[in-house]
Amino acid sequence: MTVEEIIMLAGMAAVTFLIRYILLAVADRFSMPPLLERALYYVPPAVLTAILLPAVLLPQGYWDLSLNNAYIFGALAAVAGGVIMRRHTLMASIGWGLAVFFVWRLIF
């Protein structure tokens, strides 16, 4: 490992940890306003959607709304599977999504 690599790793580790930790470090010193706490309720669905939707509609970094884009049809199947089998959403989404995705790739 070179010195440069060590500096890079130390820097990356430090910024990543601080981002994840800083609010927790000072948590005792402030109480959260109710409105903010209410807002945080929406963080998980908002962030997760913002990560996944571009990965489906712009899989190679550009818009692809064609029949060839198996990502779209796999994603639709994942949504359907997850909604229908609400008790096992995660497994259903992964199972249905991947199945349709790979079959779609074979066909188109």
Binding site: T2, V15, F17, P44, P45, V47, L48, R86, T89, L98
Partner: protein, 244 residues
């Protein structure tokens, strides 16, 4: 009266991440293969997974190494790409603030997208288990060990793995994230939140360093909050009408 146990929570946390372990596997493999070809040394590639533990930041870092980018740029990019994690710790804050720092520090270190999504659901269940942080610990450790394994395997197999993108293995991300999102969509406010975040993420996709992600997340949260307010105001009005 239910008896809560640390071990039960810990095991449940690890168990609930099982599907996600599979979902992250292709990314560990891809990271490993990218790292090998980027010119990063073996020990540094392994150490990055161990001390940074952030999939997308690691991806971008090895691409920057391959492109010969200076260290300062790589660290700065890492900062921006991981900014969303601050939203996560803010969201978990009400649940974690009663813990000692010796708990908060490791849980913060392991706070990734997947761990967050799985554990926030556990914290929000309305049973009063005092050991929900053990659930998070179980989820964290499972994800951490799993990530090391697949990264290492990717490094070992190196360039022998055919292009994982061409295989479509990267589709594991959207499907697992869809599965993680659905349980949060329960009412009109969360539906509007998800639609807004999705639409904005598509419009801001061209912003560098995944900044569009933050913009989209904030837009989604605000939209959800607006609907939330409107719905509760309407409820209050209705109540007042009925009473008068």
């Amino acid at each position: 009266m239910v008896e809560y146990r640390k071990s039960t929570e810990f095991i449940a946390g690890a168990r609930d991440t099982l599907p996600l372990l599979l979902g992250t596997a292709p990314f560990g493999l891809i990271y490993g293969t990218l790292a090998v070809t980027s010119g990063l040394s073996w020990p540094a590639a392994v150490a990055m997974s161990l001390v940074v533990f952030a999939g997308s930041a690691q991806f971008i870092a090895v691409s920057l190494v391959a492109a010969g980018a200076p260290v300062a740029i790589i660290v700065l990019t890492t900062l921006v790409v991981n900014l969303r994690h601050m939203l996560y710790s803010a969201t978990l804050l009400p649940h974690l603030k009663k813990l000692k720092q010796k708990w908060r520090i490791p849980l913060a270190f392991w706070l990734t997208d997947e761990v967050f999504a799985v554990t926030v659901s556990r914290y929000r269940q309305d049973d009063d288990s005092p050991f929900k942080h053990w659930f998070q610990l179980g989820a964290s450790l499972a994800m951490y060990v799993n990530w090391q394994f697949w990264c290492l395997l990717g490094l070992i197999l190196g360039s022998r793995i055919p292009d994982a993108g061409a295989w479509g293995l990267d589709f594991a991300l959207p499907v697992t994230f869809i599965g993680m999102t659905i349980p949060f969509v329960k009412d009109r406010a969360t539906v509007v939140c998800v639609i807004t975040a999705g639409a904005v993420s598509l419009m801001t996709g061209s912003l560098p360093f995944k900044l569009g992600l933050i913009v989209a997340a904030v837009a989604g949260v605000l939209a959800g909050l607006l609907v939330d307010r409107a719905v509760s105001r309407r409820k209050l009005l209705k109540q007042a009408e009925e009473e008068s």
